[in-house]
């Protein structure tokens, strides 16, 4: 008896539905064939599980359907075994084998390169281009800042300046209102002094805004505009409590 006919007779064999001679042939084949014996054990295990499960969960007493499922399980099992055989026949994939020296060299190279990159990045961040770190203006950017600016994580110098001016203008408007409330109570000398100083500040503001309109990259004018805006805010704040 071959494996195929044996497996065809496994179900009736389990149910003692085979003729004595056929059953004897099956029994003889099972004793010699591990695969079919394994299939028999699995069928037995499935049947045992079916017997142990809750009767309510059990499938309807349809013997054909049950045996069809069992047959599917067996077929799947055979297919798995075939896949394993094929896998054993294919040559093994190439594995990367390194000596300790190679691994150590590679590790050292990674450490050195990453350290150098870190040092360059930190130096670039802390020490921008220019002869002296003290020469750095707010509008100058380090490489990291430029990189972050390009990916949109930080503002460009122009956008940052506009945002800062807006914030300063909001503060100036607040103190301007406070001054407007107090101004009527000042004496003439105070009023004149305030107006005189505010006029000087406004002149500088007009000048720097004009410079930046002509040349938005003018870092000194941008820095001075920021300083004069602060001066204006300080003057308003200082006179708002008189």
């Amino acid at each position: 008896m071959d494996c195929i006919s044996c497996k065809d007779h496994l179900s009736p064999f389990m149910d003692d539905d085979l003729e004595q001679t056929v059953a004897e042939q099956v029994r003889e084949h099972l004793s010699a064939c591990d695969d079919c014996a394994l299939a028999l054990e699995e069928i037995a295990a499935v049947l045992a599980a079916c017997h142990e499960s809750d009767p309510a969960d059990a499938s309807p007493p349809n013997a054909d359907a049950m045996w069809l499922r069992i047959s599917n399980v067996i077929d799947a099992d055979i297919a798995e075994q075939e896949r394993r055989r094929l896998a054993e026949r294919t040559p093994p994939k190439r594995s990367w084998n390194f000596t300790f020296l190679q691994l150590a060299s590679g590790f050292a190279a990674v450490v050195v390169i990453s350290s150098l990159l870190t040092i360059v990045a930190i130096r670039n961040y802390l020490q921008p281009t220019g002869d002296d770190i003290y020469t750095r203006t707010k509008t100058e950017q380090t490489t990291i800042e430029k990189l972050l600016g390009r990916v949109g994580l930080i503002d460009s110098p122009e956008a940052a300046r506009e945002r800062q001016v807006r914030e300063q203008q909001a503060a100036i408007d607040y103190w301007d209102q406070r001054v407007a409330l107090r101004r009527s109570q000042w004496d003439k000398r105070t009023r004149e002094a305030f107006d005189r100083n505010m006029q000087v500040i406004e002149q500088s503001l007009v000048q720097y805004r004009s410079n930046l309109k002509e040349n938005p990259e003018d870092e000194i004018s941008a820095e001075m505009l920021d300083a004069v805006m602060r001066d204006k805010m300080n003057l308003l704040r200082d006179f708002s409590d008189l």
Partner: protein
């Protein structure tokens, strides 16, 4: 005869006029003295005492002396300001803005303050001149909110700051190693008189006038930037930090 009669009458009239004028001047003088009020007080102090003054209008003069006390003298013009100095654990605090909050009119208050040479001085006023001399404490800060001159003479402090809107700034002193010096004005002249052996890193900016005169200090490694609007660089070892900004005025360095 008529000539002598006329002459006698003229002398009498002149005498009367002189008497009236004298009476007027006397009245004005008395009224002026009565309109002023003098404040004077002494405070015991240590070497590292700190004086913090916020004035409204008037002049402030601070002088260092070789005593550990602080002497405060103030002439208060009418309408007389409230003046209530406080000794806050080693810091003498005078805040005329706070003490006269809500008062429409307050007269000038002119201070003369004497402090130990090693005292820290922090003075501020809305309008008026500030003067500090012979002080070598850790800090000298002089700030005028609007207009007035700042004169700092014989200063040896390691942190000096002077700031006004309209007015001159004059600094005469020694720059300490690793010190920090900052001078800022909108319109006026900034003159710095320092020893030739000073050592500092400099950022001097005069954007409108481009008038930055380094004098004998031009031999340092200095760079003119932004079409001459700014001078940046080092003089000597560059240990101290010096920042000078004059928006509409000049910056001049002088050898001490």
């Amino acid at each position: 005869m008529s000539y002598w009669r006329w002459s006698l009458t003229a002398v009498r009239q002149a005498t009367k006029a002189a008497a009236v004028l004298a009476a007027v001047f006397l009245f004005i003088g008395v009224a002026s003295v009565e309109a002023q009020k003098k404040f004077s007080r002494m405070y015991p102090g240590s070497n590292n005492v700190r004086i913090q003054l916020i004035n409204r209008t008037g002049t402030v003069t601070v002088e260092g002396w070789n005593r550990s006390e602080i002497s405060i003298t103030a002439i208060l013009e009418a309408p007389v300001a409230n003046l209530e100095p406080q000794n806050q654990s080693g810091t003498i605090v005078i805040n005329l803005v706070r003490d006269n909050q809500g008062r429409a009119e307050v007269g000038n208050v002119n201070f003369l303050i004497r402090v130990p040479v090693s005292a820290m001085v922090d003075i501020e006023t809305k309008i008026g001149n500030l003067s500090v001399s012979n002080v070598s404490g850790g800090l000298v800060r002089a700030r005028i909110s609007s207009e007035g001159d700042i004169t700092l003479t014989n200063i040896g402090s390691s942190a000096v700051s002077a700031e006004n809107v309209i007015g001159d700034i004059f600094f005469d002193g020694v720059m300490q190693e690793n010190g920090n010096y900052r001078f800022s004005s909108m319109r006026g002249n900034i003159n710095l008189r320092i020893p030739f052996n000073s050592s500092f890193r400099l950022v001097a900016t005069a954007p409108s006038t481009r008038n930055i005169s380094m004098g004998p200090f031009g031999t340092g490694s200095l760079n003119y930037m932004g079409d001459g609007r700014r001078v940046v660089g080092k003089f000597g070892e560059g240990s101290a930090t010096l920042s000078v900004t004059n928006q509409q005025g000049s910056i001049t360095f002088l050898r001490r």
